[in-house]
């Protein structure tokens, strides 16, 4: 590990990284725009310049070189000495900031980036209070550059991060810098809008408010939002995300750094994959079939009722009870439900739920993968079924056994954001005498169901998912469950005969004691705000 001296402080850093990265990792807030650890280095913004000690050409003595060096482009070498805390460096930052503000509009009150804008932050820390610009400002136009994204080129600082992202990460090269000097601006090629599966990342990548998401445009100011760490359920890789929400609901999803899965980026699918949470037709009360169809039932009476009915079914034919564990469930929920049913029907068969697959895996140039498997926890469900043993089988077997009438009672969990049942599946499941369906939305199974229980979306639950590579990751609750519903984990907790609050952490401890793989939850490194 090389050791370098920054501002007189000895710092140990990872080999091969630039001095800027070493300083950022050591907790120093060094202003920078163009450098991003996930992109190629261009050293164009000139904010990160530093002073460095070099051998004097004549005396060969180590002395501060008279010129400044870009710290983002200088690799950290053992024994080197640099400084940011000097008059020359401070003067450079001040002057560069003044240049950036020459043409920058005074737009912060109406700019969606305000509050998380690095031009605001650096101006506050290093800029001057008044502008000395006497000429009229050069005003570059606002452009509609793609179906999801707007470009306010008057706010751009030309760091070219967005251009490099499209060149390197998405490999689609839609964006370019056109013109030069103060007329320089970002643009797309005629007839080729910014439209790829990762394009939303340029919005967070942009250090200022030049690239904005149309979806989030004008919706909220960022400081009114609360943030929760979560895992995206849209595909089996389990991309780490932040959910930004307030009392009105979710407003946007942003990428969260995860060195093992999605690094700094997320797919657009994950970014916009929350719309179903606020759909109007969500189920919001449990219903039980009476003589005249499904009638609302109180939550408190359900656990006892279900336990009794499932036990009755098991008494007739011992292995005629089925539990279908959906890959949309968290590990804790699947564990609790399987345990609860096995408690009253010990021979109950555990089935892996339906796994939605759309197209094929897509791999992007630098290795970002968008998975075809569109569910977060297939591996987790399989691991739990394997551990609990007894009778287990997959979704296909379930349909087969159901249509042949072998299954008398079934607890089927859905929770998919989209329509998931084929008509054959509905016909087969319809054969089950006592069918319990737990889902987000009304489906074709409603008319066959003896009991219909509302499920809640992942943003209203907590737990962990095991991704396609066997990595166990936890997610937290953002919203409260929709009125009238109950978090799935809480209901299964009560179904298992417990009283009190369901705490995912407590269940996790119990699971870890039984099965060591569940003790190994991966928590990605958290990046400080100054290391953007």
């Amino acid at each position: 590990m090389p050791k370098i001296i920054i501002d007189g402080q000895e710092i140990e850093c990872r080999p091969g990284i630039p001095v800027l990265q070493a300083a950022l990792e050591a907790g120093m807030d060094i202003p920078h725009y163009c450098y991003h650890p996930g992109l190629k280095i261009v050293a164009s913004c000139r904010l990160c310049l530093m002073e460095m000690k070099m051998p004097h050409p004549k005396t060969k003595e180590m002395a501060w070189a008279p010129k400044l060096f870009p710290s983002c482009q200088t690799p950290a070498k053992d024994g080197m000495e640099v400084r940011f805390d000097s008059d020359a460096v401070r003067a450079n930052v001040r002057h560069v900031m003044e240049y950036y503000l020459l043409n920058h509009p005074l737009d912060c009150p109406v700019c969606d980036k305000a509050g998380e804008c690095y031009l605001q932050d650096y101006t506050e820390d290093h800029g001057s209070a008044a502008s000395r610009m006497v000429d009229e400002k050069q005003k570059n136009p606002k452009k509609d550059i793609g179906p999801q994204t707007l470009l306010y080129s008057d706010r751009c600082v030309l760091c070219s991060r967005c251009v490099r992202f499209c060149d390197e990460i998405s490999g689609t090269s839609e964006l370019r810098v056109i013109n030069r000097g103060s007329r320089g601006e970002i643009d797309v090629f005629p007839g080729r809008p910014l439209d790829n599966a990762l394009q939303g990342n340029v919005v967070e990548l942009c250090p200022v408010g030049a690239l904005l998401d149309k979806e989030f445009l004008f919706r909220q100011r960022v400081w009114t939002l609360k943030t929760t760490k979560s895992i995206s359920p849209v595909d089996s890789r389990g991309q780490s995300i932040y959910i930004d929400y307030n009392e009105e609901g979710i407003h946007r999803i942003r990428p969260r750094f995860n060195e093992k899965v999605n690094e700094w980026w997320i797919s657009d699918e994950a970014r916009f994959g929350w719309k179903h949470v606020h759909r109007d037709d969500r189920l919001n009360q449990p219903r039980v079939r009476g003589s005249d169809g499904l009638v609302p039932q109180r939550w408190e009476e359900l656990p006892e009722f279900l336990r009794k009915r499932l036990a009755d079914a098991a008494k007739q034919v011992s292995d005629s009870v089925a539990v279908v564990l959906s890959p949309m469930m968290s590990c804790e929920e699947a564990w609790l439900l399987a345990k609860a049913v096995r408690d009253v029907a010990p021979q109950a068969v555990l089935f892996h739920g339906f796994v939605p697959v759309v197209g094929e895996d897509r791999t992007f140039p630098k290795g970002f993968v968008v998975k075809a498997e569109k569910c977060p926890n297939r591996r987790g469900i399989e691991t739990i079924c394997e551990h609990l043993g007894g009778n287990t089988a997959n979704w296909g077997d379930f349909l087969g056994m159901a249509s042949s009438g072998k299954i008398k009672a079934a607890y089927v969990v859905g929770g998919y954001p989209n329509e998931w049942l084929t008509s054959e599946a509905v016909a087969a499941i319809g054969q089950v005498e006592f069918l319990v369906v737990q889902d987000l939305f009304p489906t074709a199974l409603t008319e066959h169901a003896a009991v219909e229980i509302p499920s809640v979306s992942w943003t209203e639950r907590e737990g962990m998912f095991m991704n396609c590579d066997g990595l166990l990751q936890e997610f937290e609750r953002a919203l409260n469950p929709l009125e009238g519903t109950k978090a799935d984990g809480q209901f299964f907790f009560e179904l298992a005969g417990n009283v009190g609050l369901f705490r995912a952490k407590k269940v996790r401890e119990e699971m870890a004691a039984a099965l060591p793989v569940f003790a190994d939850v991966f928590i990605p490194q958290e990046l400080p705000e100054h290391a953007h």
Binding site: P109, V110, D144, F218, E462
Partner: protein, 200 residues
């Protein structure tokens, strides 16, 4: 449910003397009695409102009185607010609710589609006025705020603009704000250039 969601509160322990509450009660009664039996106080305190208002000499200063809000209009008659949410952010009573949208005018970016102030919840501190970068929201000398229902006391954009019409003669809009670039709401058109929008 996260650990930090659970708050454990302890009831403060009161001593035997504190639990009597007698000294506090007597203190209050003393003030009431003093006002009841003092003729001078009664003359000063009791007013035959609304015939007798407090606008005489040395009394209510209406010039800087903080009454009902208004939303100012720019010289073109459009709402001057740019929907920046600064007022609702500054508001300690959380009584301002704004919904922003893209403005229909070429020289402006954002404007309030909805702008509701709950006048019952407001504490008339004037923070919103201070926070506004374009001096669009102001408190007026109008203190006669009455209504028969709660819903009536939630003033929407139209109502707030109407208050401006009613009070602009008593209290004109402040000096043109310092910001420019389309934010002035048409006050300095020489600086504000229309946004050129281009589709691909």
């Amino acid at each position: 449910m996260r650990d930090e969601d659970v708050i454990v509160l302890e009831e403060p322990q009161l001593s035997a003397a504190e639990r009597l509450y007698l000294p506090q009660i007597l203190d209050g009664v003393k003030t009431t009695l003093r006002h009841t039996f003092s003729v001078k106080n009664r003359k000063q305190v009791v007013r035959q409102y609304p015939e007798d208002t407090r606008q005489g000499r040395g009394e209510l200063r209406l010039a800087n009185y903080r009454g009902v809000h208004r939303l100012n209009k720019d010289p073109d008659g459009r709402v001057a607010c740019v929907a920046c949410f600064m007022c609702s952010t500054a508001c300690p009573a959380h009584c301002i609710h704004i919904e922003a949208g893209e403005s229909p005018w070429p020289d402006r970016e954002k404007y309030p589609v909805k702008f509701d102030i709950d006048e019952l919840r407001c504490i008339y501190c004037g923070m919103c006025e201070e926070a506004c970068p374009v001096d669009a929201i102001e408190l007026t000398p109008n203190y006669e705020l009455v209504g028969l229902t709660r819903a009536e006391m939630i003033f929407d954009k139209e109502k707030l603009l109407q208050v401006y019409e009613e009070t602009k003669d008593v209290k004109p809009r402040k000096n043109p704000p310092v910001t420019d670039y389309g934010l002035t709401g048409g006050q300095s058109k020489d600086v504000a250039q229309p946004n050129v929008e281009r589709k691909v």
